[in-house]
């Protein structure tokens, strides 16, 4: 049996390191020893797959998936759409994309969130979908509000949507956050600033996409997600080790 093509080595120069003192919670939650580098075995190149039996068609519509019949959440109606690609710019089809977010007032529907902005009775704050054969996905939701958090005394998160993506191998697994073009809180956010590379930050900022708006209904933002690419094996050289 031929050995599987590995995923490209993760470029740690554009990824946040574990220890980032500006984001205080990372201090006690960051490993200190070097990670052991591992060539991909079957355990790494494989990963879970999902199908249309796992989710429902309406799961990607946060305007309706928790609202009472005939009602809508409060807030700016938006479409968040884009493609999941790999580093070779190839689409990642049929992969699960899950999102969660605060409501338009910056409040999460979570028993641990005590921010004084109110819960929206018509907004759950989560959605999920599978990319199509072109790696394309879309959600309908409201634009989340900024919210304060305890780090420095006066830190505010920029408006953001949390995004979880699988890909085709477990080593592509990624959780990130989607920010919105023009938000003045982005450059001063300690969580954004854990990312050591300006272009990598830029890549997490969804762009206003006027062409994809639904006139008189919803404004659109484009957010593409890039997962690690995979090598096609040209030469097989037997290496010692794992």
């Amino acid at each position: 049996m031929t050995r599987p093509g590995e995923f490209y080595q993760r470029d740690r120069s554009i990824q946040p390191p574990a220890f980032t003192p500006g984001y205080k919670t990372s201090v006690a939650r960051s490993p200190r020893y070097s990670m052991i580098s591992l060539q991909n075995s079957v355990s790494e190149i494989t990963g879970p797959r999902f199908g249309h039996n796992d989710i429902d068609a309406g799961d990607n519509d946060l305007l309706t998936n928790y609202a009472k019949a005939g009602e809508s959440p409060i807030g700016e109606r938006i479409i968040l759409h884009g493609r999941v690609l790999d580093e070779n710019a190839r689409p990642v089809p049929n992969t699960l994309v899950e999102i969660w977010q605060a409501n338009a007032g910056g409040r999460y529907r979570h028993k641990k969130d005590t921010y004084l902005a109110p819960i929206d009775p018509n907004f759950g704050g989560c959605g999920r979908t599978l990319t199509d054969e072109n790696g394309y996905f879309f959600f309908r939701t409201v634009k989340p509000g900024a919210y304060p958090w305890r780090n420095m005394v006066n830190n505010w998160r920029p408006a953001h949507i949390h995004v979880s993506v699988f890909g085709l191998g477990f080593v592509q697994r990624l959780i990130t956050q989607c920010y919105f073009e023009g938000d003045p809180l982005i450059p001063i956010c300690p969580i954004v600033q854990t990312i050591p590379d300006a272009e990598a930050i830029e890549q997490l900022i969804a762009k206003l996409d006027l062409n994809a708006t639904v006139p008189l209904d919803s404004i659109a933002y484009k957010f593409d997600i890039v997962l690690r690419g995979r090598r096609s094996t040209l030469f097989e050289n037997r290496l010692e080790g794992n």
Partner: protein, 206 residues
């Protein structure tokens, strides 16, 4: 331009934050929204092999259990096949081999039931001992942490495992080996994950 490399860059990771449950386990956040939450059933109804329980905590650098951690498990079935086209062979109908586990908000304890995986082939040499692959996210973790759990009652297989043997500091290999006991009629493996300190768990850059 000659020889332009047109690769894209992987999107940067950001912490899953304290409210990760809303997206990935909404029942735990306190509400019911989806027909079914994903990742509760790792094996499906038809999985063969030894049923087991796995339990543990993720412990921070102050020695405190992390109470808002989320772990994902990825494993082969009892025959050593992953549910994937390149997974080594067929799996039982309904076997996905993937689970999502959250810690208790008060104690930080987590546990799940599954079947014990079989051995799998090594990348270049040998056979990998039975193991579970873990991916760990939480508030304060900027990028998901990858590690593996091996089984304390697989001494021979563990000694031959090409990944364990890659760890130069032999005493650190023990951080990946879960101790077996019996609880409620099931073999139970204890896997406490230490993020820092003398017994810091080995994490992998995969």
């Amino acid at each position: 331009m000659p020889q332009e490399l047109a690769y894209l860059k992987e999107s940067a990771s950001q912490t899953a934050g304290p409210y990760v449950h809303i997206g990935l386990a909404p029942g735990a956040a306190g509400f019911d929204i989806y027909r079914q939450e994903l990742g509760h059933d790792i094996t499906g109804p038809n999985a063969k092999g030894q049923r087991i329980r796995v339990e543990g905590r993720v412990i921070d650098g102050m020695g405190a259990p992390i109470k808002d951690v989320l772990l994902e498990v990825w494993q082969a079935n009892a025959e050593g096949h992953y549910a994937h086209p390149e997974g080594g062979g067929p799996v039982e109908d309904g076997f996905r081999g993937w689970g999502r586990v959250i810690s208790d908000f008060d104690t930080g304890e987590w546990s799940f039931e599954t079947v014990k995986p079989g051995t799998t082939r090594g990348r270049n040499v040998g056979t990998q001992a039975p193991h579970l692959n873990f991916w760990i996210v939480a508030r304060g973790i900027n990028i998901g942490l990858n590690t593996r759990m091996y089984f304390g009652d697989e001494d021979t297989a563990n000694k031959a495992d090409p990944v364990l043997n890659l760890i130069e500091w032999t005493h650190r290999r023990a951080t990946l080996i879960a101790k077996r006991s019996e609880k409620g009629g099931l073999p139970t493996y204890r896997f406490d994950i230490q993020l820092q300190g003398e017994n810091e768990t080995v994490f992998f850059d995969v």
